[in-house]
Amino acid sequence: MKNSCSSVSPLIERYFDRQATDEERALVERHLPVCTTCSEKLMALEGLKNALKAPVDEALQEETFPWVWEKIEKNIRMERKPSWWNLLRSWLDLSYLLRKRVWIPAVATAIVLALIISPFLFQKTPSYLEASVVEYVESDTHNVMVYDLETGQVTVIWLFEEPEEETFSS
């Protein structure tokens, strides 16, 4: 029995799966009535299969697949032809700018440009000493005098209505 069991036991699963040869099946069927161990092993396999399969069969029996094909069709259609709204959204969508390979070179370019331009924008020159603040002066009706204060940055252009007018302090 033990020997028979040791040779039949490995065949139980093949027998259960209906994958045994005719010879193997005959051997198992002769052995099962006289061996409770092998019989219980077979029943355990049946029990496990039932636990796995029965709920699936039951679910499929009750299932009506509502709208499944319609959803598949809609999805495929959406993939093929984006709506004008999705096209507009994709055009207005600037999230691609946030992708690394876009914003890193963009930031680098901005920094380089800022470094080049900033001296021109922010440079404060010290007081600019021009040879002449007044480049040109002309009057058909008055005498004109141009006077630069020695201290402070003030230049005076004075129009005289009468010659030697006493307006300036001595």
Binding site: Q123, Y147, I157, L159
Partner: protein
């Protein structure tokens, strides 16, 4: 790629426009002062040039008639009037020599007669005083200061 190119073009145009306007404009301060010997005192708004006025002129009273900040653009003259419109001072930005040096062309007219044409160079901290046209009890002094 196409969207990136279009966006880059838009940004460049925007930047150039902004840069061009920033470089082409200059802010200047115009003050119209009545200087006279009637009364005494200096208007508080003239505190920055009080010392210079005192050392230059012998008037006892300096009254501020107008104080305006004008944005000058090339070839777009700005006008200030004084003495009930009988004196007009027209200022035009000729060009920017540098970011902080502006060449201005100034024309002063009294009762529609040109009395002065001048070109001055304005830089930070510099004030140009144009004075002399007489009004009732005093004279008009026109102070142009850089505001940049």
């Amino acid at each position: 790629m196409k969207r990136t190119t279009i966006l880059t073009i838009y940004c460049s145009i925007f930047f150039l426009f902004f840069a061009s306007t920033a470089f082409g404009q200059v802010q200047t301060r115009f003050r119209v002062i009545r200087a006279s010997n009637v009364g005494t005192g200096v208007d508080p708004s003239l505190g920055d040039i009080h010392g210079q006025l005192g050392s230059l002129f012998s008037f006892t009273s300096y009254r501020l008639l107008k104080d305006e900040i004008l944005h000058l653009s090339p070839n777009r003259p700005a006008s200030i009037s004084a003495w009930e419109g009988r004196i007009i001072i027209e200022t035009t930005l000729e060009r920017m020599r540098r970011r902080d040096v502006a060449d201005l062309r100034i024309r002063v007219a009294r009762e529609r007669i040109n009395i002065l044409n001048t070109n001055v160079r304005l830089s930070p901290g510099r004030t140009v005083l144009i004075g002399g046209p007489k009004i009732r009890e005093g004279v008009i002094i026109y102070a142009i200061s850089s505001n940049f």
